[in-house]
Amino acid sequence: MLLLANTTEVSLGVTLLFSLLLVGLISCLALEEKIHAKKSVIAGSFAVVCLLLGAAFHILPFGRVVVGSYQPANFEEVEGDYVEPDGDRVHVDVESISDQSDPDTTTPSESAHEAHQAHHALHVDGHEVSMPVYIPAIDWGVIAIILGSSLFVDITSRSGLFTWIAIRVTKLSKGDPLLLLIAYAIMTVVFSAVLNNVTAMIIVGSLTAVSLSRLARKELLLGFLLIEGLLTNVGGLLTLISSVPNIIVGTAANISFVTFFLRAAPYVVVATMATLVMGAWVFKVRRLSTEAEKQEALQLVAGFDENDGIQSVMFFRFGAIMLGLFIAVIATTSVLPLISDLEMGFVALAFAAVMLWRYKSDVDQFYKAVDWDLLGFFMALFVVINVMEHAKVLDLIGVGVAKIIDWGDIGGTATVLISAAGFSSVTDNIPLAAMLAKILSSLGTPDSSALWWSVIFGANLGGNITPIGSASTLVAVTIIHKNELEMSFGKFVKIAAPFALLHLALATAYVLLFLR
């Protein structure tokens, strides 16, 4: 789908007005708990206001859009019709395009800019359709990934696979607190990477509450849950689909699943180990010392039956195979014939569709369980950001970001990472990631730039500074409260800050040393 670039002149007053709206949105999202409104309602309300004002100030590109166009592999294919920003269809020949992007007559930065422009211009053979302006504003690829993978994970979890793994891991620890912490930490990271941060925290967090209660070690619950909450954001860095900022930024920077994994994995391993060492020390998690204690703990965890949640062995096996396949296909989407064109969203939805066959007459229960608030929030957010783009707000922010980037390879990259972490600690990291991805794209940032990684690391790890910084830490705090443990905003920051600082210091060093 091609959304025509906006070339309308926008006054500074209008840009500032929309900037205020953006600040308002971010502030409201930060105060989500205080104003007792769901994200989708907040973002949706702002989207409505933005669209109305956008229409009033004539900054929105109303008109027909071109769908079904494709980007040719070489200039010989280009000759044909294409669509001007004003909607007129014009004829283009090879020479006119070649002139625009002659590598001999442009500087590297101009070349990048031209390439970016060409990305919009060199789409041919599409057909025009009438579509409301807010529909093409939404990144449907991201929505498809989130919807498909959440459905897939939800149905797969009914097979008892995740609970089976979780209980097996618990039993392997033999009930020893330190081994249990290590086991749960690894499980949190892996689940965060394969599923998503929130689901990982829910699974591991609820098991932690039950198992520590069984082991009569409730005094360790707060420490365990906090470490797990922090590790969801570390584990969320492991793959391209582990968190929404990864999906948004990774997609914008054309980072493949495998590249993402290979580049992020060393950091995740080191950060997890560092968190474990520090966590065990801070929360005084020790190994059992006497043989009697070990025997008692072993007997207590032996009571867990990992097969209890398995309703059908066949479906359990099917779920395990499908999960393996899902990861394999997602990892190789960019190189698989046909699939690479259909992208990851298709893969997620297709796997969800296959899994739905298990409950074919009862699928509505899964549709009900879909996090519509999250999906609504994303859609509204994309609309808001699109309007901000037309209102030149992103250009304005981009000027600031460009100045930071100009601080140099080291200073700029580190500052972007720390700033991204700071912002995402007080507000949702998704609008931040979406906005910065747009800005970096518009600045013609090359795919290989470390700045993309700064945004990814900063947006993910910023969630560890405050309890509202990420959905998974919020889940951790919810489980803490559910178990009648005291955890205020201030207490969380006080306990989590040293961990967050450690994560950020490691991330900054890692990005500067290895990803630059």
């Binding site: 867990f304 990992e306 209890d308 919810t478």
Partner: protein, 283 residues
């Protein structure tokens, strides 16, 4: 955050109480009777023959007969002094059973409240229609909450001979269940049919899992008897009566102690009052 609750429920359901055999040490057995010697001694011998699995050859058997049976206070003091591991007695001690057929009698009533020692209540030998004591082969352990009843199951198993049969039964009270379902049916947020099925499934699953664990645990400890499971929804008193008749149970084992009250708890009192022909082991 309903998913937190979902997963917590899954893990809680997976957290099962495994059976652990608790060996019953019976070094001394006391027979409390209002018979005079030599009838008391003869009755004591019948009891020994009826319970061949109780204790070992070195177990010391003693008898508190009518001549030695003092006032209620005095007899409690005597029990304390003798400190037996197991007591045999029957209801309506020192009172004619025919006058108060549905009473345990003051001695037994006090004994169940004042001591933690297992008390085996035999049919009164004073009643004309009292059945003869027969060798125990078929034992049934009953509870309103089977999971985790290690002591109950261990004692019941210890009294069952290798060629005998052990029934582990759990009857979930239908009246109470229906009352809750009636309440649920008035709450629009909860789907009544789903709630009814799922709650009942879970209520019966826990005792079933525990019985399976008992079966395995007892086999691991070398017990050879057949272990049967009865887990159902029904009317406790009526169903237990039917089950006893149906399976010709020789001994019924049940818990009577309640942390919150002195009186026998739950279904124990009505059962011990009504089942006058079946030996009852009150724990």
């Amino acid at each position: 955050m309903s998913k937190i609750d979902q997963f917590e429920s899954v893990f809680k359901a997976a957290d099962k109480t495994p059976f652990q055999f608790e060996r019953m040490q019976v070094n001394s057995v006391l027979l409390v009777t209002d018979l005079y010697d030599p009838d008391a001694a003869e009755y004591g011998e019948k009891v020994r023959l009826a319970f061949p699995n109780l204790g070992t050859d070195s177990t010391k058997w003693s008898c508190l007969d009518r001549a030695l049976l003092p006032s209620v206070d005095g007899f409690l003091g005597e029990i304390k002094r003798l400190a037996p591991d197991f007591i045999f007695t029957f209801r309506n001690l020192l009172t004619p059973a025919t006058e108060h057929p549905y009473s345990l009698g003051v001695h037994l009533d006090v004994m169940t409240q004042a001591t933690d020692i297992p008390i085996l209540v035999l049919p009164s030998p004073h009643r004309e229609d009292s059945p003869e004591l027969r060798t125990v082969k078929r034992v049934m352990a009953i509870t309103d909450h089977m999971a985790g009843q290690n002591r109950l199951v261990s004692i019941a198993a210890s009294l069952t001979p290798p060629d005998g049969e052990l029934w582990l039964s759990h009857v979930e009270d239908e009246t109470t269940f229906e009352r809750y379902i009636q309440t649920i049916s008035k709450i629009p947020d909860i789907e009544t049919d789903v709630a009814k099925v799922r709650i009942l499934e879970q209520l019966l699953k826990e005792p079933r899992d525990y019985v399976n664990s008992c079966r395995k645990g007892l086999a691991d400890c070398g017990f050879k008897m057949q272990v049967h499971e009865i887990v159902t929804l029904g009317h406790r008193l009526r169903d237990y009566r039917q089950l006893l008749d149906q399976h010709q149970i020789d001994l019924l084992v049940l818990n009577t102690k309640d942390q919150d009250q002195l009186a026998m708890h739950g279904v124990a009192y009505p059962l011990s009052v009504e089942l006058r022909n079946t030996p009852l082991l009150l724990l």
